[in-house]
């Protein structure tokens, strides 16, 4: 119980910190009236929570699905697809405030469909190992096309699409927060409903079947839900690494391997890590800003190492 209280307190602290701290000086007394706080800091903090949480839950479920602790939401080719979508949108001058995220989302879904189809090449059963290989291959292929477009394109600013892809949360607004908040509950609920059978899947597909799991539909549902979460995250914030890889392991070290508790813990943990990382990215080298993915690695890896040390000793 105290673990949950601690985690919720940490999340709350991260939220408060993200709203109070920033490169611009806002007096505590003006916090509620400041435009900067209301239109920039608060939506950005909430988006960090939603994106970080989504990535961590997607990573947790994919690690259980492909039964590989190294699985990361972006290993399945989605980042490559999203990057291709974004670059195409820029190259074709798709306008509007939603042009880029929608194109990135469409690209991620395209990559997801292709990987899924390739995962079924062996027959009617989704083979997680082929899924992983297909993800890597599709990601590399989309990346190659993206690079080709960028290097051949006329507009020099297309090169900046890479900046966006490796970007962060600077596109946050209340609109993106509302869209994410309306979108992610469906895949999250699908994954939560799959929590128990995912516990079984850690034993292997046939042992899971023997214990009563419907493995084929389970794999499909989990793959699609995790991909939809990742696609949304990449569409609003680009590729933010390490959250989906490290937070699931931290959650496993503290909460064990039952997905019923793992999913909520990973969601809060991922959101908290990204909140802290984004705050650090905005504040540490102000007025400049660091790419948030770098900070998630700088914060996440030592945290992971410390927990791993404590856990292997105890």
């Amino acid at each position: 119980m105290s673990r949950w209280l601690g985690l919720v307190a940490l999340t709350a602290a991260a939220l408060v910190l993200a709203v109070v701290l920033g490169p611009a000086h806002v007096a505590l007394a003006d916090l509620t009236s400041s435009d900067i706080v209301r239109t920039l800091r608060v939506p950005r903090a909430l988006l960090a929570l939603l994106v970080g949480g989504s990535l961590a839950v997607a990573g947790t479920s994919l690690q259980a699905l492909v039964r590989n602790p190294l699985a990361d939401p972006f290993l399945l080719g989605l980042s490559g697809g999203a990057g291709l979508g974004a670059v195409l949108a820029l190259a074709l001058h798709v306008g509007g405030p939603w042009g880029l995220p929608v194109a990135a989302f469409a690209g991620a879904l395209g990559a997801m469909a292709l990987v899924y189809r390739l995962g079924l090449v062996g027959g009617a059963q989704l083979d997680p190992r082929i899924l992983l290989l297909a993800g890597v291959a599709v990601g590399a292929f989309a990346g190659a096309i993206t690079t080709a477009i960028v290097s051949l394109a006329e507009a020099a600013q297309l090169r900046n699409a890479f900046l966006w892809l490796w970007g962060g949360l600077s596109g946050a607004s209340w609109n993106t927060v509302f869209v994410m908040a309306a979108y992610i509950p469906v895949p999250l609920i699908v994954l939560y409903a799959a929590a128990r059978p995912l516990d079984l899947l850690a034993l292997g597909e046939e042992p899971a079947t023997h214990l009563g799991a419907d493995v084929e539909p389970l794999k499909r549902r989990v793959y699609l839900a995790a991909s939809l979460l990742t696609a949304a995250a990449v569409a609003v914030s680009g590729v933010i690494g390490f959250v989906g890889l490290i937070v699931p392991h931290i959650a496993r070290l503290v909460w064990g391997h039952r997905h019923r508790s793992l999913f909520p813990a990973a969601f809060l943990g991922g959101g908290t890590l990204l909140l802290f990382a984004d705050t650090a990215a905005r504040v540490s080298v102000a007025p400049r800003e660091l790419p948030v993915g770098i900070v998630t690695a700088l914060v996440g890896v030592p945290l992971f190492a410390a927990l791993l040390r404590r856990w292997t000793r105890g």
Binding site: P23, I36, L40, G96, Q157, R288
Partner: protein
Amino acid sequence: MRRLLLASLLAVSCRPAADRPASAVPPPAQRIVSLAPSATELLFALGAGDHVVGRTTWCRYPPAALRVPDVGDGLNPNIEAVVARRPDLVVLYKSQLNESAAAQLHRLGIRSIVLAQDRLEDVARGARLLGPLVGQARAGDSIAAAIEGLLSAPPPPSHVRVAFVVWDNPPMVIGAGSYLDQLATLAGATNVFHDLRSASATVSLETIAARDPDAIVTLSDSTAPPPYASRPEWRAIRAVRERRFIMLPADLFGRPSPTAPTAVAALRRTLEAEVPR
């Protein structure tokens, strides 16, 4: 075949290679490949445009440059395409990526010169270096003198604060390391990110909002406001809400250039029209 080609190339360009003008001045270059837009513009300004036999895809100014064959990128250039133009001088942009290109050209016996092209001083220095190499030493001196004169004159008092936004997500702005920052100062404006020493940097929207520029300056040939102008998070910035965007055409403002005096005058006029005192 290739060996034959290389042998013939070496035979025609068998001059001592040098990165800088040597004390014994070599004959003026007759076939020049320019691998930087600013260098191409400078060569044309020096009156050596007729000797430019290769340019990058991005060299669009002056319009006459468009008639010169395109050899691709200027960063990490395609050496074979460059060499195929049979140059006796190659002008490279100063960058880590171009070190190996310069070394390769050296091995092929082709003279190359590496020019920094980030600030207005670089234009003056470049003019003095390139002028003698292309037989236009006097033109080089006069361009350099004009730029140096522009830079040494006391800048007018600043009456307007601007931010140069070069990319929207993540937001990237121009810092003191860029010629644009210099142009702003000379035109009587203050770059609110003058404290950043690099040419450009990623910053948060919050920082731009807090520094509260009077106008957002963007390099663009279009007069329409940039696409991010309508995004809600950008509207936290006063200049965006008030739609004070200054669009600078790429021909005049796209690189540090000998036309800097004209650019400064144009910017001063635009600022006075857009942001009255």
